[in-house]
């Protein structure tokens, strides 16, 4: 009995193929239908930077991709700016420099500082701000009506009630005033009188100094939306060309989609290539997706809800976002399953908490 078992074991050792052999055999059989069916897909590790919101980082498998365009689309109060600032906070604390191209001049530095962003490392470019707009005149003119003042007492017996100057000053400059009143024809000689020849003064033409015309003098009205966008696009081009900025945020979140969608697609393609070359994270905040296929990641921000756990304080907002498109989504295997695969999670929820709400 023992000898038989031993023999069987020996036969099994020689006849049963190894797992690798079986895998090769199966792959060879399936090669026409599924190439390299059982070989795991080589994993490409793409560098990412965390956003600082754990729920979003889990959803995005680490954070936002480096060297690519990430588009954050959504209406107002959906949390795009909050996520962007939280993301910048991580970068600036690593000693990197970032840039915020503010198309509608909406960035609030106090808010950025509250989010933990070191403002010394953030280059802020405000587009479309005219000089008069930059410094609003808040000066409040205050004057009391006359009835609140004590009227000056009129002194009797004095010239002009004692309020005027000395009478002798009244005749000062009188001859000049009189001659000024007399028109030239009144003092001109009449026809019978001998007439002096009045020599006409030679007219001298002085060259008028003219302002030097430069391109800056010919700017269009910078407060118009398209002018702002054009400025921002030129600035972004310059920043991407200069290189060295780890993140560039193009904030078009307050620009209406009809203006934002006018930006040609070639611009986004150019930005994508430049971002890839300089290894910068390019964040695009919009109301509606406009970078199309040039963006690697499109995050759709859904309208959130205000948290109402306090009756007297605004404590924050509950946000929702959805990954609408990801360009290089990593497939776990190249085997096509027979069953319908379960839907992967592509939405996240998180809460923001206002500074004054304290620890909860």
């Amino acid at each position: 009995m023992t000898a038989l078992t031993h023999k069987a074991n020996i036969r099994r050792t020689y006849l049963v193929p190894t797992a690798a052999t079986i895998r090769l055999q199966i792959e060879a059989k399936l090669a026409r239908k599924i190439p390299s069916a059982l070989t795991p897909v080589p994993r490409v590790i793409r560098p990412v930077v965390p956003t600082g919101v754990s729920e979003v980082d889990v959803l995005l498998a680490g954070g936002l991709p480096v060297g690519a365009i990430t588009e954050m689309a959504g209406v107002e109060s959906t949390g795009r700016t909050g996520i962007a600032l939280s993301f910048l906070r991580h970068l600036v604390h690593a000693g990197r420099a970032c840039a915020w191209v503010d198309v509608s001049d909406t960035l609030c530095p106090e808010s950025a500082a509250e989010a933990g962003v070191d403002l010394a490392r953030l280059l802020w470019v405000r587009c479309g701000v005219s000089k008069s707009q930059a410094k609003p005149s808040t000066e409040y003119k205050f004057s009391l009506p006359d009835r609140f003042f004590i009227p000056a007492s009129i002194k009797k017996g004095l010239h002009g009630g004692g309020c005027g100057g000395h009478p002798r000053n009244e005749v000062k400059g009188l001859p000049d005033a009189v001659s000024g009143l007399l028109r030239p024809e009144a003092i001109a000689p009449r026809c019978a009188e001998p007439q002096h020849k009045i020599r006409a003064e030679r007219e001298v033409f002085m060259p008028q100094p003219q302002a030097i015309a430069t391109r800056s003098n010919l700017r269009m009205n910078p407060t118009k939306p398209w002018a702002r966008i054009e400025q921002a696009l030129r600035v972004t081009d310059l920043l991407l060309q200069a290189g060295g900025f780890s993140a560039i945020v193009l904030d078009m979140a307050s620009i209406a989609p009809e203006y934002a969608s006018r930006v040609p697609l070639s611009t986004w393609f150019r930005y994508r290539t430049a971002a890839e070359r300089t290894q910068a994270v390019f964040l695009l905040l919009t109301q509606h997706s406009c970078a199309k296929s040039s963006s690697e990641l499109l995050l759709r921000f859904q309208p959130g809800e205000a948290r109402d756990n306090e009756t007297t304080l605004f404590t924050g907002i509950e946000h929702r976002l959805q990954v609408e498109r990801r360009r290089f989504a990593q497939e776990p295997t190249n085997v096509i399953p027979l069953r319908k695969p379960p839907h992967s999670v592509n939405a996240a929820r998180w809460r923001s908490q206002s500074t004054w709400a304290g620890e909860r």
Binding site: W124, K131, P209, A211, T214, V235, L239, G304, E305, Q353
Partner: protein
């Protein structure tokens, strides 16, 4: 005279023409004359070799000059000459701290005490050649004479011999001077006439005259002249201290209105300034451009990059962008560049330090951005100590070298998006609390209102302010939610939306 005395005399003739052509390199190969005097009575005061070969000479009037074609006529500029003199003196000062300046009307002459410099700069011949090379890079031509007697060096330098470097060995001064004409001695008219009558034409002939008889005829001046002719005249050295200033000035031939044309001139001036700064191992920290405009006004702009640099292209681009965004209001008559020097320290980045923008490239980029969006709209925000809205100022952006602070864990904050300017809204109130309002043509009803938070300040000045802040969660009838910051201006009694929480 001590045994160790040795002087190098630097002499540049036709100085009015040289000073003008220094910053006009394109004219150096052409015949140029420099005119001096009031317009109808102008005369040539200096001319180039090419102009002389055409038959022109000093003292010709304007009418005579007009008979020559292809001659470039320039007006004498004393300010340009003063700048060129300062540049040459400063160049001479690089070889010795003891430099004596002799002011001539139409030439430059300075004597350098080079005793004891052999260890630093080599023998006198090498020093003289290096000095001439350096003067050549400044756009000037000169000659150098080295002698142990001061006056001998001066006389040989002023001599007509076309040799740029002349070394007179000690003890052979009289031999070297013998062939020189008497004009090198700065004789008075009377003395020149007397010597001409006597038939004395060269220094050798003057040196051979008996001393006592000469003194008895023309006085003590005769003794001095004879000593100079023999190379024995002692000299009390009176050194000047050349001030190191990086200033270049140029008066333009005609008023310039185009900035691009001006940049050609600025380019040459910058080249000279950078050359002088580099010779002292310095870099330019800031450059001020002062433009003299038509109408007698001046216009000054200063450019200061984050780090001192000697890159001419960077400076040119920065100056161009600055002048383009702040153009002068009239045509330009003269340009003056005044540079401040700084150390040429370079920032050494670590191997593992994060990627940061390159300093000089960032300066140019920022200048370009400033030209697009305006000066006050680029930079880093610095918060001011106030509770007022928009309590910040913009400062120029530079790469911070300080270590970043540690990242602390903090919950995510709702960010505010400011509306600049704030949008005025009409608010419906219910028991003194906002109930509904219309904003951007949509009607919003208030779901929750938090407030009022009263703020105010500066009641002691005319810029007093006071407001009542409300944080609102509002919704339209179709369910769109907004979180807004509403403010009631207490001075104007006006409701405004100042920001949206995002």
């Amino acid at each position: 005279m001590t045994k160790h005395e040795i002087y190098a005399c630097l002499y540049a003739k036709e100085f009015p023409a040289q000073a003008l052509l220094r910053l006009r390199p394109e004219l150096r190969s052409k015949p140029c004359v420099v005119m001096e005097g009031e317009p109808p009575l102008e005369e040539i005061c200096s001319l180039t070799r090419k102009a002389r070969s055409l038959g022109m000479s000093r003292g010709m009037t304007r009418v005579e000059v007009d008979t020559f074609s292809e001659v470039i006529v320039l007006q004498r500029s004393l300010k340009d000459e003063a700048t060129a003199r300062a540049v040459l003196l400063e160049c001479a000062g690089c070889y010795s701290p003891r430099v004596e300046n002799w002011d001539y009307e139409r030439s430059f002459l300075c004597a350098i005490d080079i005793a004891g410099t052999t260890g630093l700069f080599g023998p006198p011949a090498t020093l003289a050649r290096n000095l001439l090379t350096r003067v050549g890079t400044l756009g000037l031509t000169a000659c150098v004479a080295v002698s142990s007697n001061f006056h001998a060096a001066v006389a040989v330098a002023k001599g007509p011999l076309p040799i740029s470097v002349r070394i007179i060995p000690t003890g052979e001064e009289s031999k070297a001077l013998a062939a020189l004409p008497l004009t090198v001695l700065d004789l008075t008219e009377e003395q020149a006439q007397t010597f001409a009558l006597w038939g004395i034409n060269t220094l050798g002939m003057l040196a051979a005259l008996p001393e006592k008889e000469l003194i008895s005829r023309i006085g003590q001046a005769g003794k001095r002249l004879r000593q100079m002719a023999r190379g024995e005249m002692p000299h009390l050295f009176q050194p000047v201290e050349p001030v190191f200033t990086l200033v270049e000035r140029m008066e333009l031939d005609s008023p310039v209105e185009l900035l691009d044309a001006l940049m050609f001139v600025v380019n040459v001036m910058l080249e000279q300034i950078i050359l002088r700064a580099t010779a002292r191992v310095l870099a330019l920290a800031s450059v001020s451009v002062t433009l003299a405009l038509e109408g007698g006004t001046t216009y000054t702009r200063t450019v200061q990059p984050a780090l001192p640099t000697n890159d001419r292209q960077v400076w040119l681009k920065l100056l161009h962008l600055d002048l383009e965004s702040h153009p002068p209001q009239a045509a330009i008559l003269a340009v003056e560049l005044d540079a401040e020097s700084g150390s040429t320290s370079q920032i050494q980045l670590g191997l593992f330090s994060p990627q940061l923008p390159e300093s000089s490239r960032l300066d140019v980029t920022l200048a370009r951005i400033r030209a697009i969006v305006g000066d006050e709209n680029v930079g880093r925000a610095v918060l001011t100590d106030t509770h007022q809205l928009d309590g910040f100022r913009i400062e120029p952006f530079s790469i911070s070298s300080a270590d970043p602070s540690a990242l602390s864990s903090a919950p995510m904050r709702p960010a505010m998006r400011r509306l600049r300017p704030a949008e005025t809204v009409f608010v419906t109130l219910q028991s003194e609390r906002p109930k509904a309002f219309t904003f951007r043509e949509r009607r919003y009803s208030v779901e929750s209102a938090y407030g009022p938070w009263l703020t105010g300040g500066e009641w002691w000045t005319a810029t007093l302010w006071g407001s009542e802040q409300w944080d609102l969660a509002v919704r339209t009838h179709d369910g769109v939610m907004l979180c807004v910051c509403l403010i009631r201006d207490l001075l104007r009694n006006q409701w405004q939306i100042v920001g949206l929480y995002d």
